[in-house]
Symmetry: C2
Subunit: 208 residues, 2 copies
């Protein structure tokens, strides 16, 4: 049975919250307490988790570390994912340098660009910008899993086609386009988030 | 009647697609053609738009420019939004320099940080990093509308509280936290997107 997409989108939020609770030394947490932290309904949390098995005990709640381990496995974060970044503009460089990725088991193994002035420069110790002409060879040889696409909208589909042929298994797309792909794609369109936010601000005002 | 959140999230996608069609010189588009471009169902698109009024003509479709103008007004993009960025780390700086924001009528008017070595440096001509101590004064004086929060998770709630007191109307949060706020908040947790992507890759594989 396919898990609904909103449920899958909330799993990383539960993961993040449980990780924080673990760091705070909390051993057990109820769905009510999780719900208060996350501004969700406790029934929602119990229903979401029930898609993946039986968790928690009535009257005791969830054992934080055990549930965190289970969600780690559900999301496939117990193994390291090899990630490449395509496009070394402002956004691509920022993401390649973003330490939170490696902490979460997403290891950026290479950054690619077309700009001859950028190729060969080092973004981090051991992380150089490579020529996009070597993209397919690199992905096949290094068995990279995921690609972060931070190229202009006009070239995004062509790069996505190359990535698929090279064997990339999923794409996180920052370009403001809808891609035609046979592999999973997630979109992060920053201006789209701002537009949704603008709408909420306007309608909240009207509701007052 | 409140418009469902998934509908609101799709409106910027329609906007983006119509803008592209307009640039391509297309005058009319059917819901079927939009649906093919966006990998959605045409009935979904018609239902989504029906939340905001009556658009399009049977047999003719939507007039691209007219629908684009209508969505522009629905999302409140016919006026410029003043945006501040809080946190001048990798992500904050990349967003402050991101030209797509201004093109979409989101004008970054200031960037704030606590780091004395960063304060006073210029990110773009006319866009300096300011001392976070001046955040509240600046927001009230300049009537900034929205804040992009790119600070560490540990300080995100405190900054969000300051922003609310200063009169900010909405927050786009890049910190991996759930904020307690009385104003609208949108979240962009990049590692959460990668986790959702990882899950999709694993389950697509199982489905094969």
């Amino acid at each position: 049975m396919k898990v609904p997409r909103p449920v899958i989108k909330r799993m990383p939020v539960y993961y993040r919250c449980l990780e924080r609770l673990k760091n705070e030394g909390v051993k057990y947490v109820s769905s009510q307490k999780l719900a208060r932290r996350l501004h969700l309904k406790d029934s929602q949390i119990r229903k979401d988790l029930s898609h993946f098995g039986k968790f928690g005990k009535r009257g005791v709640g969830y054992e934080v570390e055990s549930l965190l381990n289970d969600i780690t496995k559900i999301l496939g974060l117990h193994k390291q994912w090899k990630v490449i970044v395509v496009g070394a503009g402002n956004i691509g460089k920022a993401i390649a340098r973003f330490r939170a990725l490696e902490k979460n088991n997403f290891k950026v193994v290479a950054v690619f660009d077309t700009d001859k002035r950028k190729i060969g420069t080092e973004l981090l110790p051991g992380l150089k910008i490579l020529d996009i002409a070597n993209l397919r060879d690199f992905v096949s040889r290094e068995r990279a899993d995921l690609a972060i696409l931070a190229v202009p909208a006009s070239s995004a589909q062509a790069v996505a086609n190359d990535l698929q042929k090279a064997g990339i298994r999923g794409i996180l797309c920052f370009a403001p386009v809808t891609l035609s792909c046979a592999i999973p794609v997630e979109y992060v369109d920053i201006t789209a988030f701002l537009k949704t936010l603008a709408y909420s601000v306007l309608t909240e005002k009207y509701n007052m």
